[in-house]
């Protein structure tokens, strides 16, 4: 998926002279996950450059650049390190248009690798997406395939509002069969790894049905889409798997249509459970589909603990846990 990300940045740097790309180690070196490799030598260090290690500063200058008229694409090295930059995101980027009566806007994209699966321990594995979705004025995107990653990143950069773009780092270097403990294989030759070189975009706010089914609706995003696929295959439950792709704005139409059909719903995410985005999903689904629901909506999520290092697979919600939920929701 990092190749797709790089291609999106490449395309946008080429198409739009206002696009600038920066962050810690993204310039000469090309990023710790190689998402910006080769871009500085292609576009020069006026367009692609290293920054000091200060996430608040990175997002702060991005807001200023956006106000000037550029389209900044900032990288936060790991989503776990976004917190020093939250004030600029929450208090500034998200509110600039509103508080200035559209005098000033913040058309920035803040990219960050999220999620576990690389033995990164508690500070290289977090999934803070729920925090962003609580902030009005931010859009939140989290792709699950290289094709989507490129198309959604291009749409995010073109969007005139601030977008938080989370990249499931477990998918950077290879596809994922839902079993995190299995070794990583490269994207090469994998059908989903095939990404067109040219410009294309995927609209924000539209979910994708990854697997049609009639028993139960599974709402997932990022790595969890693959876990859900594995769980459906392994349990034989005919799950309809919806990859949300954009968390905010949320594609409630697709969700409601599916739940009205299946009458059951399982929500899966890696983030801690309490007040995770699954809470919003569950609340919304029961609001909109209450009279179609045949059993309680279940959430399968990371535990309410920091992400451990050694027991990573006990934390990561794998096909076992999701499968158990599918079965249980069918029994209820």
């Amino acid at each position: 998926m990092n190749v797709a990300i790089r291609s999106a940045l490449d395309v946008m740097l080429g198409r739009d002279g206002q696009v600038v790309v920066f962050g810690e180690d993204v310039g000469y070196f090309g990023g710790v996950f190689r998402c910006t490799e080769g871009l500085q030598s292609k576009y020069g260090e006026t367009r692609v450059f290293d920054t000091p290690i200060a996430e608040g500063g990175i997002i702060g200058v991005a807001v200023g650049m956006g106000a000037y008229g550029l389209r900044p694409v900032a990288e936060i090295q790991f989503a776990d390190y976004v917190y020093p930059g939250l004030d600029q995101l929450i208090s500034e980027a998200a509110r600039l248009r509103y508080r200035s009566g559209a005098d000033f806007t913040a058309p920035l994209t803040v990219r960050m690798p999220a999620g576990g699966g690389i033995h990164g321990g508690q500070t290289h594995s977090q999934s803070p997406e729920a925090l962003f979705t609580h902030v009005c004025g931010l859009k939140t995107v989290l792709p699950s395939t290289p094709y989507d990653a490129k198309g959604l990143l291009i749409a995010s950069i073109e969007d005139d509002d601030p977008v938080v773009f989370l990249e499931p780092k477990r998918l950077y270097n290879g596809p994922f069969d839902g079993h995190p403990e299995r070794p990583i294989v490269p994207w090469t030759d994998h059908p989903l790894g095939d990404v067109p070189e040219d410009y294309y975009s995927i609209p924000l706010g539209v979910a994708a049905v990854r697997r049609p089914g009639s028993d139960v609706t599974v709402l997932a995003y990022g790595t969890m889409v693959y876990v859900a696929e594995a769980a459906a295959a392994e349990t034989g439950v005919d799950a309809e798997i919806i990859d949300l792709r954009t968390l905010l704005p949320l594609d409630t139409d697709t969700i409601v249509q599916s739940v009205e059909k299946t009458g059951r719903c399982v929500i899966v995410h890696e983030a801690t459970r309490t007040s995770g985005f699954g809470a919003e999903l569950a609340a919304t689904v029961q609001e909109l589909c209450f009279f179609h629901l045949e059993s309680p909506i279940q959430r399968v999520t990371g535990w309410d603990t920091p992400y451990p290092h050694a027991q990573e697979w006990d934390y990561f919600p794998g096909p076992g846990r999701v499968g158990a939920a599918l079965r249980s929701v069918m029994e209820d």
Binding site: V20, T46, R47, T51, P52, A54, G56, G57, G60, V61, A62, V63, G64, M65, A67, Y68, G69, L70, P72, P84, D87, Q88, S91, E92, L96, R97, Y98, R99, S100, G101, A102, D103, F104, T105, C136, G137, K139, D160, D161, G205, L248, P249, L250, T252
Partner: protein
């Protein structure tokens, strides 16, 4: 475990002591500004704008002053003929109107016509100087105490007041607190309620201008209390690394609500000195001396435009009024501290200088004062005609949902409709 380290730290040092800085005077005490070293006007050298910052570290502890006690412009920083009498009168007028505006709006708050107000009394020269010295395409990233910029740029007073009254003509639709203006056309960035955030944004804007190969610079402002915030540090770091064309202003008005400048670290060094640590040139300037204000801004702007990078300026001034309409300074500082302030009143000092060079008189000053009041009174009358908080003529509530995003997403449309349905 300690493998034979020296035993407990030698106790002959005695116990440690927790030290909290204290202001020189509290309510009931005589005002005491002896902590402030005020050099004679004209005493501080003026380096070339291309100077190596390491060569002018001493300026961080000096104070650039141009106007002496009699109102003469003296020394190397005196702008001379480059600042015409007309330009000075224009600045004086802007300062006087700003003060009249502040007084009137403060009264309006007391009358319940608005919820909140913040005056800039005593600090008008700094915002006015920036407004008149920077170019029309430069961008100013202000705090809530730089209304002087808008007035100097002749932004309509009625517009400003409609925001103060949150009425139907409020350009910001009642969303913002009073005083938190936004005026892009006037080069005035939208004010944030969160302290300091604009400082690093100013640097980002300036970086963008350099990236675009443009010729515009940015100027950011924070109060001395706000220098403790992270974004102050971010601004200095990024400005130094990329040599951004930005003027970083610290308005040291001695107080941050109830905290004196020592709580922000002003007891152990000047705020200008913060720049030294980043290799940024630091100027420390008498902020109540309009000619010094102009000279400092010109120096920093010229330096930035010539690609020599950022400058940090500490403006030494005094917050004469309460922090805001919610504040009562007599609770934490001597009532009459402002009267003892050694750098005087920027309005009086500029008027005296103009008088000294034969371009002004007490009579004209009196006329100006009256005219300012009349202008403000007329504007207020018009603005109040569009409504105030008292009569509830506030902006349409539907506007609540606009501008959250460029296009309103479905969930906000639903929420707007829900509000509509409520009576």
């Amino acid at each position: 475990m300690d493998a034979g380290n020296d035993p407990d730290p030698p106790t002959h040092h005695g116990p440690l002591r927790f030290q909290v800085p204290e202001p020189s005077a509290r309510p009931g005490d005589e005002p005491d500004f002896s902590y402030l070293d005020v050099p004679p006007a004209g005493d501080t050298r003026r380096p070339e704008v291309s100077v190596d910052p390491h060569q002018i570290r001493d300026l961080a502890d000096a104070m650039i002053r141009v106007l002496d006690d009699d109102g003469n412009a003296v020394g190397p920083w005196a702008p001379g003929a480059e600042l015409s009498a007309d330009a000075m009168r224009r600045a004086l007028r802007a300062m006087v109107i700003t003060r009249a505006y502040d007084d009137r709006m403060f009264q309006s708050q007391r009358q319940g016509k608005t919820s909140f107000y913040m005056r800039s009394t005593g600090e008008e020269a700094i915002a006015v100087g920036h407004a008149l010295e920077l170019g029309p395409r430069d961008m100013f990233f202000p705090t809530y105490r730089q209304q002087g910029w808008l007035i100097a740029r002749e932004w309509p007073l009625v517009d400003m007041m409609c925001q103060i009254f949150s009425n139907e003509r409020d350009r910001l639709h009642g969303r913002q607190m009073p005083v938190m203006y936004s005026a892009k056309e006037a080069g005035f960035f939208t004010i944030s309620g969160n302290l300091g955030t604009q400082f690093i944004q100013a640097v980002g804007w300036a970086m963008a201008s350099a990236i675009a190969g443009d010729t515009c610079l940015a100027a950011g402002v924070v109060g001395e209390g706000t220098t403790a915030e992270a974004d102050f540090h971010h601004a200095l770091t990024f400005a130094a690394t990329y040599q951004a064309p930005v003027i970083l202003n610290v308005v040291n008005n001695q107080w941050a609500i109830s905290s004196f400048q020592g709580i922000a670290g002003g007891a152990s060094s000047t705020f200008a000195a913060r720049a030294i640590g980043h290799g940024i040139p630091a100027l420390r300037i008498d902020g109540n001396d309009y000619l010094a204000v102009v000279a400092g801004i010109r120096w920093a702007a010229e330096r930035a435009r010539r690609n020599h990078g950022p400058t940090l300026i500490e403006w030494v001034t005094y917050r004469a009024a309460a922090h805001s309409s919610s504040d009562d300074p007599s609770k934490y500082r001597p009532q009459d501290e402002w009267k003892a302030w050694p750098l005087g009143d920027p309005v009086e000092r500029l008027a005296t200088h103009l008088g000294q060079i034969g371009e002004w008189s007490p009579v004209r000053q009196n006329e100006l004062d009256e005219e300012a009041k009349a202008i403000v009174r007329a504007a207020a009358k018009e603005a109040e005609g569009y409504g105030t908080l008292l009569d509830g003529h506030v902006a349409d509530r539907r506007s609540l949902f606009e501008d959250v995003f460029k296009e309103m997403p479905a969930h906000l449309r639903r929420q707007r409709d829900e509000l509509e349905r409520l009576t």
